[in-house]
């Protein structure tokens, strides 16, 4: 039994506004184990981002318990690189915020950047980077503090289709080779199938986990090759039906 890195136990969340209250999550229960890649899919507006905010500790649940082992790194839809900082300074940002900007940590972050093809761009500004490279820089920024859990909020959805396939491959490769635990939120069924070990399906608002699947692609972790495998369309059909139920 692997160590559980993230656990939701009966988590509910209610948003309060002037006009009333909205239940965004209803008795959510699931867990993510160490080194596992879990994708969460759900209809748009079902409270997927709420789930990540809860996991990151940015929101407190109205009911239930969120437990997380270790630190987390958050990656958003857009790269959100700061245009006034060089790529290197962007990557150092979380180190600065956490007051752990030691020479050792900086060198580790630089090494990651070099390893994943950003070495020549460390002193450039983000505007000099392509969309795919920007998203890679955003991932390396997330990894700079060596977080135990990665929270990915549709990190590919703002990219055009071709870039998206490439970046998905990139990011998946980096996360797998760094052995990170990841929780991915997406509305793209095929993206979820191509990336994850396990998929959770959420209901429309308020979000509940309606189905849970462990994918049977064995040791094949590469998203491109997974897309070509026989089981892929079968999974797509199942998830499509569950999403539209």
């Amino acid at each position: 039994m692997k160590k559980e890195m993230l656990r939701f136990s009966g988590v509910s969340l209610i948003y309060h506004t002037k006009l009333g209250e909205t239940k965004a999550a209803d008795a959510l229960s699931f867990s993510v184990s160490e080194g596992e890649f879990v994708a969460v899919i759900g209809p748009s507006g079902c409270g997927k981002t709420t789930l990540l905010s809860l996991a990151a500790g940015l929101l407190k649940p109205s009911e239930g318990l969120v437990e997380r082992q270790g630190s987390c790194g958050y990656m958003l839809q857009r790269d959100e690189l700061f245009g006034w900082r060089t790529v290197e300074k962007n990557i150092f940002l979380p180190l600065e915020i956490k007051h752990i900007k030691t020479e050792e940590n900086c060198e580790r972050a630089r090494a990651l950047a070099r390893k994943y093809g950003l070495g020549d761009f460390l002193q450039s500004y983000p505007s000099a980077l392509s969309g795919g490279m920007r998203q890679r820089a955003a991932l390396i920024r997330t990894l700079a503090t060596d977080p135990d859990v990665l929270l990915l909020d549709e990190p590919f959805s703002a990219l055009d289709y071709q870039t998206r396939l490439n970046v998905t491959e990139d990011v998946s490769g980096i996360i797998r080779s760094e052995g990170k635990t990841a929780l991915l939120i997406t509305h793209d069924i095929s993206e979820a199938i191509s990336l994850a070990d396990r998929i959770l399906v959420l209901s429309p608002r308020p979000a509940r986990v309606t189905h849970e699947h462990t994918l049977d692609f064995g040791e094949e972790k590469n998203p491109m090759r997974r897309r070509e495998m026989n089981g892929f369309s079968g999974w797509f059909e199942i998830l499509w039906k569950e999403l539209n139920a």
Binding site: Y74, Q77, E80, W84, L93, I97
Partner: protein, 272 residues
């Protein structure tokens, strides 16, 4: 270096670059041309008696007036007085405005509390406070400085506050997910991302500062360009009015260009 570089381009691209340079040259010669034309026409109509130079002055009379101000040593005294009031007022308005805007960004309660007051003060024509300012601050430079600050500071507050509030929500979320404190969000994100707004606020406030200082000199003064304009109007020396106005144009434009220069230096590396 530049020449070598352009040698590498295709003939069509060289043609394109040449056309662009020609276009820039054309625009500049037109700009200068219209100035020369207007000044010439003005001079000519005054010389030939088409208009009364007593009422309209003329470029040569303006030149003479400025020369005589220079000769009796008062030219730079007046320029210096107004320039000092304007620059000091500008600096204080910008600094205070920025500080107040930061405080208002920091505390939503304070912001909501002060909002109606700021709106009212913004809408109030500051010149209405003229008599009060004279009584409170006397008839010296302090009164004019106060007027200049008053005209600029509210604009600075409102401009910066709206920029601070519009800070990218996703970038804030990102920083919060890293565990950033409010102060870190301020220094790492809110201040640097509002730099373009800061520059545009400076540009607006250059104009505000001149309005403030000249208005102040209209109400109460014994020196300065605004004083020369009012005095010239009272004694019907329109040459003096025109001369002071012209100098004002040059100074205001110069100050604006300094801000543009600052913009080029500060925003060199950002994508905004």
């Amino acid at each position: 270096m530049k020449k070598q570089k352009s040698m590498g381009f295709s003939a069509e691209h060289r043609q394109f670059l040449k056309k662009r340079r020609q276009n820039v040259a054309l625009v500049w010669s037109l700009r200068l041309g219209i100035l020369v034309l207007l000044l010439g026409l003005w001079e000519l109509s005054a010389d030939l008696g088409w208009v009364d130079p007593f009422l309209t002055s003329s470029p040569s009379r303006i030149a003479n007036t400025i020369a005589s101000l220079y000769d009796d040593g008062t030219l730079f005294y007046h320029i210096g007085t107004t320039l000092w009031e304007t620059l000091a007022g500008f600096a204080i308005a910008v600094a205070v405005g920025y500080g107040v805007a930061l405080a208002l960004w920091w505390s939503e309660t304070v912001r909501k509390m002060l909002e109606p007051y700021i709106v009212v003060i913004n809408a109030l024509p500051k010149i209405a406070l003229g008599p009060l300012i004279i009584i409170w601050f006397g008839t010296g430079s302090t009164a004019i400085l106060f007027m200049t600050v008053l005209v600029g500071v509210i604009v600075a507050i409102m401009h910066m506050l709206s920029a601070f509030i519009e800070t990218d929500k996703n970038k804030m979320l990102l920083l919060r997910s890293m565990g950033a404190s409010k102060f870190q969000i301020l220094t790492r994100l809110v201040v640097p991302s509002s730099l373009p707004a800061f520059i545009s606020m400076l540009k607006v406030n250059v104009g505000m500062a001149w309005i403030g200082s000249i208005m102040g000199e209209y109400i109460v003064s014994r020196a300065g360009l605004g004083y020369l304009i009012v005095y010239g109007g009272q004694v019907f020396r329109l040459d003096l009015v025109m001369s002071a106005t012209l100098i004002l144009c040059v100074l205001a434009a110069g100050m604006y260009f300094l801000v543009v220069l600052l913009e080029k230096i500060l925003l060199k590396n950002t994508e905004n």
